[in-house]
């Protein structure tokens, strides 16, 4: 006989677990956008020995307009409307409650974009779309023409979409920029941990567009690995960042996905159905000086 507690999906207990899961999932990423909780689909609590309970949670998440590098708290971010091609994440999350403290121990996520037809709406394009990337680089040049002595380079293209209008294809692109080191005509993103970064939104055509960039400094800390190689990573680096299959924009996907799988303890509470069938070993913790 298995005892299962079924609290209400909108109970404070379920909400606490769901918001913790949301924050944990968002913290796994250095790419893409933050996700906000849309609905708690289900929750089960398996009481264990010594007061250790196991929570199994199903949540529905929606993509916001805040990039993961944006310091804005996710609660203050705007969920992308459906007509802007909403991206949804369905996640099964396993948590443990020990001594009254909840922690995430495993999760599995599927990320999908809305497939609803909408005539005249912006449609997501693959992140390696050549024409759209031309638009991105043209708009970056516009930006660099207005930044004085500082030149910025693209760190990541987050989203590109297009809309058919009378003048042709109008683009809407979002990308992350960082200060660049330039030699002759070649500029590369700097590795300076104190470099200024920004999230830019460009809209229009290659010949004429409007551009808005939100600039910020992300606190970075040096990380020394076993080979004494120093790299800069954001404060509170992701515990895990597993990409399986063809997930990066080099493969032409239309959006950045949630980390599909994290199951270091091989929890049997995660459901069978998933896009990610294999178990991926978790990288060991990195020492932070």
């Amino acid at each position: 006989q298995v005892n299962v507690l079924r609290p209400l999906c909108d109970s404070p207990e379920a909400e606490e677990a769901a918001l913790l899961a949301r924050d944990y999932l968002n913290a796994q990423h250095t790419h893409g956008y933050k996700y906000e909780l849309n609905r708690i689909e289900d929750i089960k609590i398996f009481p264990g020995l010594n007061g250790t309970d196991t929570y199994v949670l199903e949540v529905d998440l929606l993509e916001t307009d805040c990039h993961v590098l944006d310091p804005t708290p996710v609660a203050n971010c705007t969920v992308r409307p459906k007509m802007m091609t909403a991206v949804e994440g369905d996640c099964d999350v396993v948590l443990k409650k020990v001594g009254g403290v909840l922690t995430v121990t495993a999760f599995k996520c599927k990320t999908e974009e809305s497939t609803e037809d909408c005539v005249g709406c912006f449609n997501l394009l693959p992140l390696n779309d050549t024409a759209a990337l031309d638009f991105v680089h043209t708009s970056l040049a516009t930006f660099n023409n207005n930044t004085g002595n500082v030149t910025y380079a693209i760190l990541e293209v987050g989203r590109i979409s297009s809309q058919v209008v009378s003048g042709g294809h109008q683009y809407l692109a979002e990308y992350v920029v960082t200060e660049a080191n330039c030699t002759d005509d070649v500029c590369m993103p700097t590795s300076d941990p104190l470099a200024e970064r920004g999230i830019c939104t460009a809209k229009g055509f290659t010949r004429s567009h409007v551009l808005q960039c939100k600039m910020f400094h992300i606190p970075m800390v040096p990380v020394v690995d076993a080979n004494s190689t120093v790299a800069a990573v954001p404060v509170s680096p992701p515990a895990v960042h597993i990409h399986t299959g063809s997930m990066s924009h080099k493969h032409g996907l239309k959006h950045h996905k949630l980390t599909p799988l994290h199951n270091p303890d091989l929890s049997g509470h995660l459901s069978e159905s998933s896009e990610s069938a294999e178990i991926v070993p978790v990288a060991s913790a990195v020492a932070v000086d």
Binding site: C9, A14, E36, D60, V79
Partner: protein, 33 residues
């Protein structure tokens, strides 16, 4: 006796009993379906 027991708030019911648990989940939609 072999049926799993589901505790719903203060009410304990059998999983094979009334479909009461169906009405408590999923929760509310915060943005859109």
């Amino acid at each position: 006796p072999a049926a799993p027991i589901i505790t719903l708030g203060h009410v304990t019911i059998s999983e094979t009993g009334p479909a009461l648990s169906r009405s408590v989940c999923p929760g509310r939609i915060r943005f859109f379906d």
